[in-house]
């Protein structure tokens, strides 16, 4: 309702609807009493079972088809000897694609590099972001919290490519960092930050840090201020208060933040291409390679994707279980 509708004319219209329409029912009245509509709704709502089936049919179809379908199809293709199907050749079942992964060292290396990278960067992100989340949730007044959070969200909305590009400009040989170092007289020649483990790590942390912040913030924000005050009252020092009260209660946020960041890091594709070099190839690049060449490489790519997916889900699932157990253990 806008303010203008409280003016005199608007009030008049609400009292006596506009002439010409006064003798007709409203839209919803006409709809509810229209014959065909009533026939349909009487049928649909006539039995709770029928109503449920109609409500559930589309979502369940969508989820099985669109959410699960691609993954299942990918797993299926990983066991085929050729895909996409070519004329005159029926695909056969094979384990070769999976075997390739375990026998060729050139594939294992990027695979484990990706896992180590993701784990290390997830931890680094946690350490970097935790104080920020802590500060926001516990030292800032409620009204300002939203404002300061919004400030952090702005860069977050800017996509992967744009932000990766921003990092390229920052770290390049003629980038801002090298310029400043040179101006300070610390270096003669620019340092080659780009296309190294450093630039890649820097970029990934830059991209994922907000995914860590949000769960941490919402977990920390839920802890009443009185808890640490009570602990202080009982004689706990700042460090003990943090370790014994705040940290255990924020485990849930840590758990979901880390899982999210880990899964995102393993799935990044453009960032390793743009920021990494030949020595930093990640598994996503390996996988993508199978889809850019002609020939029957899709099944191998599908197998590698499946391996990556299973590993990532098992690792993060185990991690969340462990954190859950830790939480419960702490409560006992």
């Amino acid at each position: 309702m806008s303010t203008s509708s409280r003016s005199e004319t608007a009030a008049d219209t609400s009292r006596r609807p506009a002439s010409g329409r006064g003798d007709s029912p409203t839209f919803w009245g006409r709809l509810s009493n229209a014959g065909p509509y009533r026939a349909v709704t009487d049928y649909v709502f006539g039995s709770t079972r029928r109503q449920f089936v109609l409500l559930a049919a589309f979502p369940i179809f969508w989820i099985l088809f669109a959410h699960l379908g691609p993954i299942l199809q990918m797993i299926r293709v990983s066991f085929l000897d050729s895909y996409p199907p070519s004329v005159g050749h029926t695909p056969h079942f094979t384990l070769d694609n999976w075997r390739t992964f375990f026998t060729e060292v050139i594939f294992l290396r990027p695979f484990f590099r990706t896992l180590v990278f993701s784990v290390v960067l997830t931890f680094a992100t946690l350490v970097l972001v935790y104080p920020v989340a802590y500060f926001l949730s516990r030292h800032v007044k409620r009204d300002n919290q939203m404002l300061l959070l919004l400030l952090l969200l702005i860069p977050f909305w800017v996509g992967e490519i744009v932000r990766t590009y921003a990092i390229m400009i920052l770290l390049g040989n003629t980038g801002a960092v090298n310029l400043i170092l040179k101006a300070l007289g610390l270096i003669e020649q620019p340092i080659a930050f780009m296309y190294t483990n450093f630039s890649l790590s820097f970029g990934i942390v830059y991209l994922t840090s907000l995914y860590m912040l949000m769960p941490l913030y919402s977990a920390l924000e839920k802890i009443p201020q009185s808890f640490s005050e009570a602990a202080a009252d009982l004689g706990a020092g700042p460090w003990t208060r943090f370790r014994r009260v705040i940290l255990p209660l924020s485990l849930e946020g840590i758990s979901s933040g880390c899982t999210l960041v880990f899964l995102i890091s393993t799935g990044l594709y453009a960032t390793p291409i743009l920021l990494g070099g030949p020595s930093t190839t990640l598994f996503s690049e390996t996988i993508a390679g199978f889809f850019h060449v002609a020939g029957d490489e899709w099944p191998t790519g599908a197998a590698f994707s499946t391996i990556m997916l299973l590993t990532a889900l098992v690792l993060s699932g185990t991690f969340m279980k462990l954190m859950g157990a830790l939480q419960k253990g702490g409560r006992k």
Partner: protein, 261 residues
Amino acid sequence: MTRNTRILMSIIYWAFVVYLFVPLVLMVLMGFKDSKFIGFPIKSWTLDWYIGVFRDTEVISVFVYSTTIAVASTAISLTVGTWISVLLAGRSFFGRTVIFGLTVLPAVIPGIISAISFRIFARLLGIETGMFAIIWAHAVHNVPFVALVVMARLATLPASHTEAAMDLGADRFVSFFRITLPYLKPALIGAGVFCMLLSFDDFVRSFFLGGYEPTLPVLIFSKLRSGMSPEINAIATVVLIMTAVLGIWAERSMRRMGKGT
């Protein structure tokens, strides 16, 4: 907490803000550089690159293409996500937890694997790479976010509101459109804008499912592969400003409405 730690914490926060913003600010500045070569220092300034963006018909058509994809996929995500939420928020049924788990599945699948699986599935269904494939992939990817936001909002709708509507003569359908949907409006606006941004910014799915026509991130990526240039900065800056404005607007309108209800 002592005064010193408080100060230390606020320094950490502002350092984090600087860390997030400096790269973007530098990128924006570089778009004003009067030279073809990216890098500092900037000796002379020009608006040419920005003017160029608005004159470049390719950029504009790619922009329209990306927007179309974002709007279409968002519309699908909102519809499906809301529908799923209504199902999951209703009475319990056999397999509800499984359905919930599968609903959020696309959100936890690493980007590259999601893109690959869609590529394979699209091939199976005979969908050509291009706009429809991208819309479909974005819609599926964004459904979990809509569902989570809408379910959270739906959980706060008192059962008495829909009961009152039915009591006054509304059937479930009318009650959904006149009571439930208006109640969900802030959640839908928030989730919708978030979906638009995700779609607009997405690279990996658009890259693997795209045909000959690139989306904006794919265009920037391919330009980057052939070398950095202030032109890219100008394009990226326009994207940055648009997303930021859209995001801030959504945040504000969501908060205002959240207060009203």
